[in-house]
């Protein structure tokens, strides 16, 4: 703390988050929200992607068309406009309850809308990733499962998903990194995540440049953590004799 205070007074680099308790707690809470937003959206988007891909493998046209429409729509529209559409457009239709002071409170708040919008956005990319993973499975494996008496659902769940998951992991980790970067868009609807609190801090202390560098470093570190974690997972799940040789 003393060091950073001295850095401000003598070096002219004002990093309030390291010596001012208020700024520090704000920043840590922002970091916490970014991480929570990312983790929930990551799990939700992966589940969404798996469900949607299960629909794609069904021999019915209508569910397939719905999934294709969903993917096409979310991939070809700007995520920021999607978030506004959810928060302002759909948010206006959601009923409000009243809090202890009798003020109207939306039943779905801005953090929830950010979760929904980002999960749907990342989920659309996951569908494409898992679809490619399933298409990469050689049909002889599916035939072998059928010959062993697996039902269609069991083949999908116990044979195709585990294999497709391994094939999809590198692309999935790229998409999760994209998702982590996209959580910054929650800034636009006032979710106090990392970018939002950093903006508050640099507005209060006029240390824009120093705070931006901190922000950049923190995001790069977060991306690094995700990349390393996913890479480890890839190695743990690697099957001998399966997948591209490295």
């Amino acid at each position: 703390m003393k060091f950073f205070r001295a850095l401000h007074e003598r070096g002219g680099i004002n990093l309030t988050i390291f010596y001012d308790p208020f700024d520090m707690s704000r920043f840590i809470h922002g970091l916490y929200l970014t991480v929570v937003l990312f983790l929930i959206c990551a799990v939700a988007s992966v589940l969404l992607g798996l469900f949607a891909v299960a629909f794609l493998t069904l021999p019915y046209r209508v569910p397939r068309a719905i999934v294709r429409g969903y993917v096409a729509f979310f991939r070809n529209t700007p995520p920021l406009v999607q978030i506004y559409f959810f928060y302002f457009g759909l948010g206006a239709l959601v009923p409000t309850s009243r809090n202890a002071y009798g003020l109207p409170v939306a039943m779905v708040n801005n953090f929830d809308w950010a979760l929904i919008a980002l999960s749907l956005y990342a989920g659309a990319f996951n569908v494409e990733i898992f679809r490619a993973g399933i298409e990469a499975i050689h049909h002889s494996i599916v035939e072998a499962a059928t010959a062993l008496g697996y039902s269609k659902a069991a083949t999908f769940l116990h044979v195709m998903v585990p294999l497709a998951w391994r094939i999809s992991l590198p692309a999935l980790s790229n998409n999760l990194i994209e998702l982590l970067k996209t959580t910054t868009l929650a800034y636009a609807i006032g979710v106090p995540e990392l970018l939002y609190v950093s903006n508050q801090i640099w507005s209060d202390n006029i240390n824009t440049f120093a705070m931006m560098n901190v922000l950049m470093v923190v995001y790069l570190l977060l991306v690094g953590v995700v990349a390393i974690a996913m890479h480890r997972w890839e190695r743990v799940l690697k099957l001998p004799g399966f997948g591209a040789a490295r």
């Binding site: 046209r61 070809n76 457009g89 970067k181 931006m212």
Partner: protein
């Protein structure tokens, strides 16, 4: 269902032919038309939903029509910003990508570090950097030019494009069989000559689909410029909504803008998918 499966049960050739015909019809119908139809459908469903929720009201459509020129003006800026960023980003990305695989450490290391930093930083953070740190005006030959907000935003969008394209270039160049490098070398080409005259020309085909993907991602990022105060489509939309001050318009207006982006981007996405399939190495 039964209608489709019927003929193939009795004569497989007919079935295959039918499937082929359907594919051809699908290809002919694809891209633009499907995108336009889907967008119109989305807008119709949303307008209908609003009408049901708030009572039938034809004024919504009239309001959409009234603000269309204003939105179009903003959307044009989105397109212009995306074109500036993709042009400058492609040019910069080629050099940074070549730098990454250059056989000289003092070029390749900085290139790799720059690529990784700007590829992994959030677009919005990079945009903030450029908006706050680029000069508001520049003096060239004694004349002072004001750097418009949209131009600074374009530069902010160019940086991640450079880094992403740099990775595409590196990937494509490394996917060229090493025999090509060796052949160029044995013919006496220098490193620079072999890159320019042997390797890069072969990369164009491989780089085209990911480059188009990158353009789509870039276009989807242009509304971020509204956060930093550029008068593009999203800003204009919000201005229009403020002027109207009518809660019923929120949903249809945002849906309308989404459909604009969709109509512009979907044909590009379909085209790049087709190219990818055509160029796929089996």
């Amino acid at each position: 269902m039964t209608r489709d499966r019927g003929p193939s049960k009795f004569s497989p050739e007919v079935g295959i032919d039918l499937a082929g015909a359907r594919k051809r019809v699908g290809t002919a119908l694809n891209a633009g038309l499907a995108g336009v139809l889907l967008s119109i459908l989305v807008v119709c469903v949303l307008v209908l939903a609003v009408a049901i929720l708030h009572g039938t009201d034809a004024t919504v459509l009239a309001k959409l029509a009234k603000w269309t020129p204003f939105l179009a003006q903003g959307f044009l800026l989105n397109v212009v910003m995306s074109l500036i960023a993709i042009s400058a980003g492609t040019l910069g990305g080629i050099f940074l990508g070549m730098g990454q695989i250059a056989p000289f450490g003092w070029i390749s290391w900085p290139s790799k570090v720059l690529t990784q930093i700007f590829r992994n930083a959030p677009w919005l953070v990079l945009l903030f950097y450029c908006i706050f740190l680029l000069p508001y005006q520049v003096r060239i030959a004694g004349q002072t030019f004001v750097v418009a907000n949209w131009l600074r935003a374009s530069i902010g969008l160019t940086i991640p494009v450079i880094a992403n394209f740099s990775e595409i270039v590196r990937g494509a160049m490394q996917s060229i069989p090493s025999g090509q490098w060796e052949a160029a070398r044995s013919l006496g080409y220098t490193w620079r000559q072999s890159v320019h005259q042997v390797i890069l020309p072969q990369c164009i085909k491989r780089m085209l689909p990911p480059w188009m993907n990158l353009y789509a991602v870039l276009l989807m990022a242009t509304p971020l410029a509204s956060i930093v105060g550029t008068q593009e489509a999203l800003t204009n939309l919000r201005t229009a909504l403020q002027a109207e001050a009518d809660g019923r318009l929120l949903l249809p207006f945002y849906a309308y803008l989404l459909s604009w982006f969709f109509i512009y981007s979907y044909p590009i996405a379909r085209f790049s998918m087709r190219l990818e399939k055509r160029f796929a190495i089996h």
